[in-house]
Structure formats: structure tokens, C-alpha cells
Amino acid sequence: MSATFETVAGIISETCDIPRDKITPQSHAIDDLGIDSLAFLDIAFAIDKAFGIKLPLEQWTQEVNEGKAPAEQYFVLENLCKRIDELVAAKKA
């Protein structure tokens, strides 16, 4: 598993008090792990700090609410980690 996933899983485990072994790349943050929107802001804060990026959570939420993107695109952890890697790469470019 990627270093990004390991970091994100650690953040989720610590922030939401979820056992680390229950968090997999296929976990859906909301449906499988039960993370609510307020807790996800705490996770976004920790991710932003850890990776030096700004997760566009408001944009993602709007896209999902308007049916322009499936929630899985952003909230399944392996997909979330891909988005994080893209944001990190964009920042370095």
C-alpha cells in the first residue's frame, strides 16, 4: 500500500478513534467507516497539514450533491489518496 494511504489511514484512525486494521484502501469514509462531515473536516485539517495541500472539500461536496461526481470518487480511500497525490504533484510542478 502507498505511503499516502498509510498516512491517511493513520490520520483517520487517530482522529476518529477507528481501529487501524478496519481501514483499507477500499473503505468508504462515510458508508463503511461512519465518518460524518464534521469529523471529515478534522481529517482534512490533518491531511492539509501533513501533505502541505488544501483539499478542495467544498468543491467535492458540491459536485457530489449536484450529481456531477459519485461520492466514491472522493471518499473511497484509495481514490482520496489518488486525489491527494495529484494535489501534491500539482503543488510541486
Binding site: L38, L41, F45, P56
Partner: protein, 154 residues
Amino acid sequence: MRLEYFDMIDTVVTFDPSQKRIVTRSTVPAASPVFEGHFPGHPLVPGVLLTETMAQASGYLLLGLNGLSQMPFLMTVDKARFRTFVEPGTVLDAEAELVIEGSGYAATKAKLSSAGKPICDAQLRFRLMPFPADMRTLMQGRIEAIGLEPEPAP
């Protein structure tokens, strides 16, 4: 400062958008129903109201920076430390600075002091949301009352 109305900030001393920092001042009232219970014969400002004072200073900082485009709601208090008691009549200086502004949230560091003596400090996080109903008008009035001149809305 009116403790029972959660009206914690009297005036803005400095608001520096370039440094993303605010300093406010408040005077703890000589009498308040709060002191009748906390504690009878030994009035002290409750820690929860000191936290609220730090949160309101931070909130006004965020409103000043975002030009009242979103309302900050307190969501997390980390590493709160209360170092000394606060009695009626104390003049409180609240200082808050922006640490991170993310998507839908912002984090600040805030502290209270009196005559340069540290009272308490904490790391706070706020959820940034659209203003509910007529709350923007209410906050506009409060901002004018304490002398805060916000940045233009983005």
C-alpha cells in the same frame, strides 16, 4: 463584556489582515449572574467563557479576513491551558492569529492575557458555512459595535 449574553468582546485594538491577526480588549463586569454560582462568595470567570472569548476573537478575525462571506462556527478546541484565575474587573486582551484556512474550515491560535500576564491559550478550529437566515445582519451589527473594519468580500 456581558457574560450571560455571551457578549465577550468589547473592542478591537488591532486588526492586521496582512499578518492575519487580531487583538481585542474586554473588561470583565463587576457583577453578573454567572458569579452567583461560579462560585458563591468567590467569583471567577468560568474556563468555558474564557474559551468562548478566545473563540469570539478568532471568529471576528475570520469574519474580518473573509469580509463576512462565511460564518465561522467553533468545532474543535485543542490544547487548552488555563494558567490563572480571572476575577471581576479584570481587563482581558485576546489575541488570535490564523494558522490554516482550508476548504470549509479554518484553524487559529488564540490566547488571553491581562496586563501582559498570560491567562490561557488554545488551538481552535472553525467550520466555515453560509450565514444562516439573518445572522449576517446580526454579525454586521456586532462588528460595527466593536470597531472591526473587515476586508472586502472575495
